[in-house]
């Protein structure tokens, strides 16, 4: 019976049925049973009629039927039998009877279709049967079937030639949550779009008959038959690809790769992220991002990542729209996002939409899932070092839902167990993060969402100092559909990052050192479908920064530390943007945008002025001018251009071109190889200019084997201006005149990224190879110091060759095997060119900056994902992840250094994971 019902459930989506079978022509039934099981009842009914019954036996095991009927039609018998029970039935023309629990089968067609159509056997529109899960009655047909012809606009006898705009929302049938980034397209002519963050889409097509395809990761691909007369709306529900029931076909963004105009966009859903083997077995969002071409990191345990030659502070990391300043826990070992609540991530490396700005290199959007609007569910994961939990469910069914996730580590007690000799007894490391998202559907045109994020880290790195840091974010979003052409999102929120380090070992020098950044913002983003060829994006956003650049205060009564509190900084960053997606022809699409950004550095602040044309050094300081609160000290502004074009040579082959310019008004100050726990941010001010970057890129995209294999080649050339580098011995923390320690550097980055992706089938994954260079140059004669004689030198994360293989092989429905192989050139380091004897010891004499490289990096990780049994009805579903990190045990250098020991210089290479490291992780879903 199980198999039968499965087939039928699938069949429901493919074939049409009429409900409420004509009772008049059915044979009459006479029956007298007591306390019968459903099987018994069905046996009786099938014996007396020619109807076939389909149902899930386990759903009916508690049903007992007592019934006495005499010559009644089948429908009446079933109505009687299921009275006051949660069971429903439906009968179709082929004499099939479907029995369902808690789900009613809707037997009438949606409102717009005249009721008379139902009875006409000659009607070309197949009759339909929809699972009634979305109870909200609407004026637009909620499409659920693929063979029905939807008539959009007012029907006319003859289709008027021209174009018309179809808009609507795409929702998940499971919980009505909007489906973001679904590809919506017709194949002939090739016209496509994607749904926005509220599931809204708008597509302009020639009038007439079309087949509209809708594809989205993790959801069943579907299509709709359209007869487009004029502008109109169509809402579409996508069925979930239920992993526990069906063969999972991860189709991803397969066709949009060819069709979308933008380039350099990488998208990963949580399912793909989970397949990437990670340290300790917990799905790690940032580590998965690091496997993408063009994304690099200085070392395997370092905060942040570098995109196409950009510094780590040039990435805008957005969690549901909130800026996360520190995306890592424990200084880079773990990423700060709970995989249980994340839905997908999207990385923009090249074509950055005009609505984003403020960072030079990339935008990483991390979207969390909407809570289930139907029922309470949750999951938990237990690892050796971290555990996580999430619950979700309706607050008000079908209207308001929440999702709450938390994660923590429990390592301190383990350190306590270590023997005294290990010197790790005093090590402390703990962190946690919390996420909350509440979604509320006010009505079909207004959606509200609230996201909260909180993370906290505490560690002493086996030193006397305790390092604390944390993020705190809150975002409120209101998405409104004004009309079928205008859609808007209003966002407001506050982001905060702060650290607080202290040491009290030496009572006289005991201190507490803190830094904090806070930003509050307001954004309005709109999409307007002007006409069939033009879709406009426009909006306005403004961001108010408040920075506590640093404080250093005594701790305890004996401390003689003089409190030092740097002047707080404040600034306003505003931007206005307008973008137009212009469909010139089915083959050629253009997307151009202009963002105009304005930055005001505001008082109160005492600003140092320096003699013109002299190095900004303390002895060249002329004066210090005080500006009152709210007074504009310095304004920077300028246009940022965004341009992308796509030309589809064939349906499977396209060429894209992109150009964009970016401005960045905030800088992270770090002169260490990895981002250190004391690194701070600085706003551009009267003495420190904003960073400026431009990128031109070209890409070729070709899909093979029915879009199941995607290949792409992208090349780019990038220029950086006024990137901040540091003078020798620069003091970056607690420096009241920071401008004297930084120098403006220029840079260039270029590279080619090759990628082959197979996202479906038993074996899936991707292979990528990147050749890229990032070179910096400091040749400003007024800087007081010139690095490497003003020649180009490689940046810390310049790793020319980079190869990544991620593969996942599904051994069975329950077991899959993942591999991650990564190779890259060693990063550049500054090495000694000689030695000298001073103060009783040989000491190293360093040569040109970054003139040597550490040995190449190579690592292989394996993991096996084992799902528990797939019985639908059980309290919990569980799965195991077991694996090995760095299988080959290669001693990849993390850092190298030269130090004088007992009077001689020794070089050392430090490896963090010098052996294969096994891990295990247990996950429960409930």
């Amino acid at each position: 019976m199980n198999c039968r019902i499965l087939l039928i459930l699938l069949g429901l989506l493919c074939f049409g049925f009429t409900g409420q079978a004509q009772t008049s022509s059915t044979p009459l039934i006479t029956l007298d049973i007591k306390n019968a099981t459903l099987d018994k009842l069905v046996q009786e009914l099938e014996a007396q009629t020619h109807y076939r019954f389909y149902y899930q036996a386990t759903d009916f095991d508690s049903l007992r039927v007592s019934l006495q009927v005499n010559k009644k039609p089948l429908a009446d018998v079933l109505t009687e039998a299921f009275r006051n029970t949660p069971y429903n039935f439906a009968i179709d023309e082929q004499r099939h009877v479907f029995l369902l629990k808690n789900q009613e089968i809707k037997t009438t067609l949606p409102n717009r279709v005249p009721a008379t159509d139902q009875t006409k056997p000659s009607n070309p529109v197949p009759s339909q049967l929809a699972l009634r899960q979305n109870a909200a009655p609407t004026n637009t047909p909620t499409a659920a079937l693929e063979n029905k012809l939807y008539e959009i606009g007012i029907k006319t006898a003859a289709v008027k030639a021209g174009k018309a705009t179809l808009s609507g929302t795409i929702q998940s049938a499971k919980n009505n949550s909007p489906v973001i980034g679904a590809a919506v397209f017709v194949e002939n002519p090739l016209i496509g779009t994607t749904s926005n963050e509220n599931g809204f889409f708008s597509i302009t097509l020639p009038t007439g008959r079309h087949v509209l395809h809708i594809k989205s990761t993790g959801l069943k691909t579907t299509k709709r038959q359209l007869m487009l007369y004029a502008d109109g709306q169509l809402n579409i529900q996508l069925q979930d690809q239920s992993q526990t029931l069906n063969e999972v076909l991860v189709v991803g963004e397969n066709t949009s790769n060819i069709k979308r105009v933008q380039m350099g966009i990488e998208r990963m859903d949580i399912k793909t992220i989970r397949q990437v083997p990670t340290l300790f077995g917990e799905a790690d969002i940032l580590r998965a991002v690091l496997t993408l071409p063009g994304v690099k990191t200085v070392g395997e345990a370092s905060t942040g990542f570098n995109v196409r030659g950009g510094a780590t502070d040039q990435n805008l990391i957005l969690f549901n729209g909130a800026t996360i300043y520190n995306p890592s826990h424990f200084f880079g070992f773990f990423s700060a996002f709970n995989p249980e609540v994340v839905k997908d991530v999207e990385l923009y490396k090249s074509s950055i939409p005009a609505k984003y700005g403020g960072r030079l290199s990339s935008v990483l959007e991390i979207n969390s899932r909407e809570g289930n609007k139907q029922k309470f569910t949750g999951s938990a994961g237990i690892g050796l070092l971290t555990s996580r939990l999430h619950v979700e469910g309706p607050i008000k069914k079908d209207q308001t839902s929440f999702i709450l996730g938390g994660r923590t580590t429990y390592s301190n007690w383990i350190f306590d167990l270590l023997p005294d000799k290990s010197n790790l007894k005093n090590t402390r490391a703990s962190f946690y993060d919390l996420n909350l998202q509440v979604n509320h559907e006010v009505n079909e045109n207004n959606h509200l969402s609230l996201t909260g994020y909180y993370s906290q880290d505490q560690s002493n790195l086996n030193t006397d100092t305790l390092f604390n840091y944390g993020n705190r974010n809150i975002v409120l979003k209101w998405a409104r559909t004004f009309n079928k052409r205008l859609f808007g999102t209003f966002t407001t929120g506050q982001d905060r990052y702060q650290y607080d380090n202290y040491s009290e070992v030496n009572p006289v020098n005991a201190f507490r050192m803190a830094f904090g950044i806070k930003q509050a913002y307001l954004k309005g983003d709109f999409v307007y479908t002007l006409n069939p060829k033009h879709t406009l994006n426009f909006g306005l956003n403004t961001l108010y920064y408040q920075l506590q650049p640093g404080s250093f205060k005594p701790l305890g009564t004996e401390s003689l530390i003089v409190p030092l509190v740097l002047q707080p900084e404040q600034a306003l960053e505003s931007a206005l943007y307008l973008g137009d997606k212009y469909e010139v022809s089915p083959e050629l699409s253009l997307d151009f945008g202009l963002r105009y950004s304005l930055f005001n550095y505001l008082g109160p602040q005492a600003v140092n002025t320096y003699a013109p044309n002299l190095p900004k050094e303390e002895n060249n300081q002329l004066d210090s001018v005080f500006y009152k609160s709210g007074k504009i000290i310095k304004t920077y502004h300028g246009p940022e251009w965004r341009f992308a074009a796509r030309y589809a040579l064939t349906e499977k082959f396209s060429v894209k071109l992109g150009y964009n310019t970016m401005r960045q008004y905030i800088h992270q100050l770090s002169n260490t190889t990895a981002i250190a726990p004391t690194d701070v941010y600085k706003l551009s001010d009267a003495n420190i200019r904003p960073q400026f970057g431009s990128q031109v890129s070209l890409g070729l995209y070709r899909n093979f084997r029915a879009n199941s294999i995607e290949t792409s080649v992208e090349v780019y050339y990038k220029r950086l201006r006024d990137y901040l580098d540091y003078k020798s011995g620069a003091l970056l923390v607690l420096n009241p005149h920071l401008e004297t320690d930084v120098i403006n550097t220029g840079g260039k980055a270029y590279g080619a990224e090759f990628m082959v992706k197979k996202l479906s089938g038993k074996l899936n994954g991707w292979v990528s190879y990147t050749y890229s260079r990032t070179l910096l140059r400091m040749n400003d004669p007024n800087a007081g110091e010139i690095i490497n004689n003003g020649n180009y030198y490689p940046a810390n994360f310049d790793k020319p060759h980079d190869f990544t293989l991620i593969s996942n092989y599904r051994l069975s429905h329950r077991v899959s095997f993942s591999t991650n192989v990564t190779y890259s050139t060693g990063r550049p380091i500054t090495i000694p060119i000689g030695t000298f004897y001073y103060a009783g010891s040989f000491r190293t004499l360093y040569g040109d900056r970054n003139s040597y490289r550490i040995p190449d990096y190579f690592r292989t990780d394996l993991s096996l994902n084992i799902e528990g049994n797939h019985k639908l009805k059980q309290l919990t579903h569980n799965s195991w992840t077991v694996g090995v990190y760095n299988v080959t045990g290669r001693k990849n250098p993390y850092s190298t250094y030269f130090t004088s020991e007992k009077g001689v210089i020794n070089g050392y290479k430090l490896t963090i994971f010098a052996q294969a490291l096994p891990f295990v992780n247990y996950n429960i879903k409930f």
Partner: protein
Amino acid sequence: MTKRGFFYLISGVWLSFWLLACKERFEPNLPEQATGYLVVEGLIITGPGQTKFKLTRSLPLGATRNSIVPETRALLQIEGEGSNIFPLAEKGPGLYAADNLSLTNGQQYRLRIKTAAGKEYISDFTEAKKTPPIDSITWQQENSGIQIFVNTHNPQNNTRYYQWDYEETWEYYSLSDTDFKYEDGRVVERAPSEHTYRCWGKGGSVNLLLGSSAKLSQDVIYQQPLTYIPPTSIKLSYQYSIRVKQYALTRMAYEYLQLMRKNTETTGSFFDPQPSELKGNIRSVSDPAEPVIGYVSACDVTEKRIFIQRREIGDWDYTLICQS
């Protein structure tokens, strides 16, 4: 798995996570570069004591002490703000000194060097600073070894930057008596008066020892670590003495030496700054771009010496066993 078993598994993994980290020798195959930059080490001592400068040249990596080439036959002189000139004499190969110059604290001095090859180098003028006396040298037992600290303060609150170096001497006894000696090609018995088994070892600072009270409300250096004597060291087998010299630095000199220290004595922590260029206050007169290593400071010197007896410390594991 039993609860206990699981528990051990977890601790084992955390442990291995830390122990997995490993440190190996790294010997890059570096191109030989002839640097040969002038290295100037020394201080202008204003009060009583010897002003001493050592001139050497930088060497290829991997050089040993035997390969140090002193810069000989140079002419060195200290110049005061007026036209006061104090010549230094070459006391040994590359070693130039003058005793008791009696300069004035608060005045500006500089060093001028003329090498035998005829090149001339000059330092910036630097203010001679007064060094406050050392308050105390203290020690305490830490992790079974002995940690030695220095304490000092200046009630005028104007020293702020300090450097120390030290000499250490320890008395120890040889494992066996020397009953015989070699004389005229023959082994002969020593007379009882010639029996030697009491020895003295000598050492000195090999690290740059720097301290600052710039961030404190008072000019106080409290428990500044100087050196650590590891457990079982022979230095404390009987009696140990440390003589610490203290020097006052200018902020610039302190920053220069601090940078040199960071560049050359880092321990490979994840968050060490990258090595950076050293720029001292000595330059070539004819070629200002020529790198010269060293920083010339002027101050007087204060010193203090303490003794530590073996019996003053708790269990000291050092025992006289043959360690051949």
